[in-house]
Assembly symmetry: C2
Homo-oligomer: 805 residues x 2
Amino acid sequence: MKNNQFANYTPTFETQIKELKAMKFYIDAETNLTFLLEQSLDKVFLDYQTARSKHQKYHSLLATDSTSVDDFFTMKNELTPTIFYNIALQLLEFEVGIDFKIDDPFTAMTKIQLPSIEIINSVDDFWSAWYLLLTTHTKNGQVFTDLLANKGYFVSFYEDAKPLFFNGKAQPVFDTTKLIREVVYVEAPLDTDHDGQRDLLKTEILRPTVTSGFKVPVLYTASPYNQGTNDEAEVMHNVDIPLAEKPVTDLSEADITSTYQEPELPNPRPVLSETTETEQTFSREFSYTLNDYMLARGFAIVYAAGIGTRESDGIRTCGSVEETVSTVAIIEWLTGQRQAFTNKLNNRAIKATWSNGNVAMTGKSYLGTLATAAATTGVSGLKTIISEAAISSWYDYYRENGLVVAPAACQGEDADVLAELCLSRKKDAADYTTIQNYFSEVMDKLAIGQDRESGNYNQFWDERNYLNQVQNIKANIIMVHGLNDWNVKPRQVEQLWQALRPSPVVKKLFLHQGKHIYINNFRSLDFTDMMNLWLSNQLYAVENGAETLIPNVTMQDNLNAETWHTFDDWADPDSPVQSYHFHQDKLTQSVTSDEHQSVTFKDDLPDDIFNAYVTNNNLWEHDLISTKETNMAENRVQLVTDSFTERLFLSGSAHVKLSVSAGQTKGLISCMLIDYGEANRLNEMPTVLGRKALDTGFHWREDDLVEFTKSATSTPWKMISKGHINLQNRTNRYQNDSVLPGTFNTIEFDLQPTAYQVEKGHRLGLVIYATDFGMTLRNNDSDIYTINLANSRLKVPYQPVTTLF
Amino acid sequence: MKNNQFANYTPTFETQIKELKAMKFYIDAETNLTFLLEQSLDKVFLDYQTARSKHQKYHSLLATDSTSVDDFFTMKNELTPTIFYNIALQLLEFEVGIDFKIDDPFTAMTKIQLPSIEIINSVDDFWSAWYLLLTTHTKNGQVFTDLLANKGYFVSFYEDAKPLFFNGKAQPVFDTTKLIREVVYVEAPLDTDHDGQRDLLKTEILRPTVTSGFKVPVLYTASPYNQGTNDEAEVMHNVDIPLAEKPVTDLSEADITSTYQEPELPNPRPVLSETTETEQTFSREFSYTLNDYMLARGFAIVYAAGIGTRESDGIRTCGSVEETVSTVAIIEWLTGQRQAFTNKLNNRAIKATWSNGNVAMTGKSYLGTLATAAATTGVSGLKTIISEAAISSWYDYYRENGLVVAPAACQGEDADVLAELCLSRKKDAADYTTIQNYFSEVMDKLAIGQDRESGNYNQFWDERNYLNQVQNIKANIIMVHGLNDWNVKPRQVEQLWQALRPSPVVKKLFLHQGKHIYINNFRSLDFTDMMNLWLSNQLYAVENGAETLIPNVTMQDNLNAETWHTFDDWADPDSPVQSYHFHQDKLTQSVTSDEHQSVTFKDDLPDDIFNAYVTNNNLWEHDLISTKETNMAENRVQLVTDSFTERLFLSGSAHVKLSVSAGQTKGLISCMLIDYGEANRLNEMPTVLGRKALDTGFHWREDDLVEFTKSATSTPWKMISKGHINLQNRTNRYQNDSVLPGTFNTIEFDLQPTAYQVEKGHRLGLVIYATDFGMTLRNNDSDIYTINLANSRLKVPYQPVTTLF
């Protein structure tokens, strides 16, 4: 067990005392430290409601190896740091004999990475230690004050109903059984369903009941999914079709630059009346537990699904400018810049009188994508976004280097499929009939725009490339991404990180070892605390050092569980690079004699094997990567280094340069970078350490406590990264080059960026192949590819391993 | 999607009207059916709080293919059954175009198995249809009234705070934000920690605030796990040791009959004072969502972990009589037969004045086991138990036919390991010091009693065999078990089912296709409703036909998803039996020429393969069962039938008779029954259809909605059942016979009971082997086994396939 806590703020002692008083912990007259501890404990054993029941509980805990806490108090013995921390660790739910030794709590605390104070001689020392204890993580990875909150510590604060900050972080002093749940309809500057009226957008608000006159900031999550999705009607594109041979083109950047123009708009609705009371509510929303957590702590939470979703107007157009405008409209209402109504019929306006005008956006995947999109408009009031596993350019979600390349486990999905999926107006049958035909027309155009035939970057995708507007961003940004996310791939965050280099906004990056997941419920990292610190700072203007306490880059180790490294940067374009030469089956750092040769591989397979791979992607991936003889042996080139004599810390995007010829007038190349070496690696999915073990407040919503643990069984390899390219896109992702059968051309492309340590004794492998059964079009046409070894290279950016210590 | 609803009760029309009135649905003066519907809809669209917002919502729903619900009401058109059910299906969250066609709702309703009324011509017809609709399941498998409850329908009932029954089932009319959470300490007639005082048992109570004077029944879950478990300290027995050669014995039943005698007991504590106020509370308990569901509906919920758990007295002794007595003590307090105190120090007594004296027990695994144990005492007040995946005899949990046989994925676990795991007093370090030495002594004795050396049934296990006391059971019993539960294996429930045949108590059995899971959150079966019907009947004496509406045996189909069959019986000892003869590699129904031969297999493996199997049980099982050449090819005999020309419905326990010789003076035989045939089978684990999609009440706790779905990829086989026997236990499970090397002996044993359809075209296989890497001791000693084919048989009990239609 290792605790990685970054959000511990150390204010001056005077501030600590002030905060302890506000938290009702400070005891004024007492000077005996043992008595101080006893009185302090009285406040935290909340389940024990009488002196006698507390007495009974204290009798069950140890102060020393032979003295119970109860006896320690009775005997009025002197408080020592050892006794203080023996008791403290038990309060934090660590177990004597399991987690620490009763005669030496400090060894365990050092190992677990728990903070402590060495000397507790004075009343001031005591309060410093108590303050620090209150901010320390429990065995379940929660701040101790959160554990107390979950037992009802803050119930006596409910009546006051205004925010309380401790250690720079908002505390759960709001009664979540008395939340206000409201629906309003925000009028967006859009008419995407062409009904002659501006689109009204259903907006769900959850907010705490606060002291009259007090205004709260807003966490806003734009989730196209949260009014339901049309899963059962989903129709994927057929991917078992041949790669098209594309006519040679000679395009300029201007040809592929978005020509989006703001359409003429109907006038806004006239306001016929105004009100402060909504007409619609909801009982349960699709929620993000980080939002739930902050809601109890004095933040309003707003969910909106946007145009084309159930009970809203408009249609969906997957990542279009309209979707950005739709997303931003909600912020504009929250900051007094736009109108909302209590229903869609009689123009009864309502203002967000309860909002303090400071908005943050949260959410993962499409939700984080829309947060990024909103930020690129520079909309005022949007102070920060926490964008997790977000898309920065839709081309890179559904395409790559002139190829149709699907997100993992989403073969056949495309912009039109996702638009249909999210058009939840379909769920209200009568409402759907009003847009069905128009939506169908728009989808026909969208299908042309997305152009599955060429796979090229074009104006359609350029409209959906938020990187074009990075310079407009005014909101500070927290970015979170999984280094093993093959749905929204790591390039999405890396491009944004690179594009933001010149920007003055504060940017922080979290890179974890997971796939497409949230990380606010991990035990080893205080992500939730950091976000609380951050949001308290950004939206409540609490001076808590958030901008410096939160590291610029926090990166999870891939070799050791519960280990997080911090850096100032990632994927620095000036990183040192290790270059590898190609041989028949080897990668070496230097030229050797057999280099002036070539290797070939084919792309077609016997029908039964092809079909087996189509239905079983794991089998295909296994056969592709395996060093043993498999059905993929002739369908790939496998180049592997010698065993590493020391660990390599690969960081950034590996780059592949290939001199390749195809047997036809078209072709594609895929590459995987592999860590070969038997090892017990981190499991792919986090392990649930405790079902519903994390409360977001007192009798409020719960989350599972999870952690990446090491697998009990070893694996012989792990895929580090991959990439794909159309041979006709040698020049760039929008222009078609010619491919002549048997003629060598040089292609160069980056694999997905990552941060990965290859252990000493392991070997680095590059697997070169064509059809990627999980991602590219797949068709059993015969083709043969030849790689000219001498003119091919693998370039791997790295950082000194010493940067990890 | 298929709805299997058994708990729909049909009272008289007069009762229906009375119930509709009590539910505030009945509208008196209105006679126009369209108006009636409009006014009824007004009550169910709870999120829409004004006429205008309802109007807006109705406008989005369809009454006919061209008319919205809103327009239908405006035009005052005539209500037809088609329109009624078009609207009803939308209320039930079915989607037009996806789930049903707007011009014909009835075809879909028939397919989904939703009830309807054909004629809606009169006011009476309308109310019959509305009543039926209120009791019908939504697309998410909840009763419509539950969906309404989750949107707040019953908030206006909170003030009255007394139970309300509709359609025979309790409704959630209690405010779960105002629950009472109390801890008391029940004094058990035990002193298991030998401290000279009777054991006090921590008891957690959650109960609704009710109308003064009103008493509630109790759902009580005895969970040794719910005060925490000592996972990190768990030490398993080493299983990589040789099977012992056992000295030949000649024991009688008397020798293995429990000699448990009630020990001398300290006197009960004197009551020094009495109170009605507790002194201790809790914020969150380990809960079962079925309990949560019933809590909102007027049932108190009680959790107690029993002797040896955190904050209780005593020690744990794994399934002993003391654990049963500990479990029952709580019921005795709930029914006024035993004392409880508000703390453990000053003998302040408290009575369960709020209990109506009717108790049910719930829970799965060890929890269900203790429910069964409690029932076998015949304790008064215990009206019924719902025992899920429960142990009926601990011998069959850790042993089998004279062998140590572990539950799946629990290699090395035993009674002592489980006792240590559950001794959560260890978590309170000072408390633990008071029992540490004594507990250690008891564990030493327990290790002798459980006797891993022989694996035999003995007095220790006989004390832990609840089947011995089945005749004492007075509580009616609901039994639930997974036919693929290899933790608590299906024999556990089958033995209880058989033993209860002569008993007059009502017994109901649910057999599902899952492993060791709960089934109260499946979409296709109204298990929760049936339990509500049952508990309302048993504990509130509501006359609702529960005993006849709930089928005697409800069994999930293994071929088709969402399909449940009902029977009067299961594993009838008089079932017809198909007998199979053995050949070199075949099973046939008749004798053939090659029968008079033998086959051999060995038990040892090359070290590397042995070690690989030790760490990777899936690999071992694959290699064992595969029909291809694997590393297990010489370590098993694989006998397979010809392809079935028609489907076989295997039901009960397959029986194996083997004439076998071993190469040593000891030995073991394992058998697996396999369904060979490529097929898309049900997934092993339920698929989550909706995360947190099931509410147990309004703003109350949530559960995931799940269902067994068919796998997208096919598998070549499925293990149907298995069994193990020690060759020295030919006679029975307690006597040791001699084994002479090379001498044939006949052994006979049952495989685990099941209910399984082998499809036409599939083949039934029997795999005979020795070491079971997942369950038996495993040691790479060489041994060789020979099977005499002529004298061996497989006998398979079956039922006509027609019983499934």
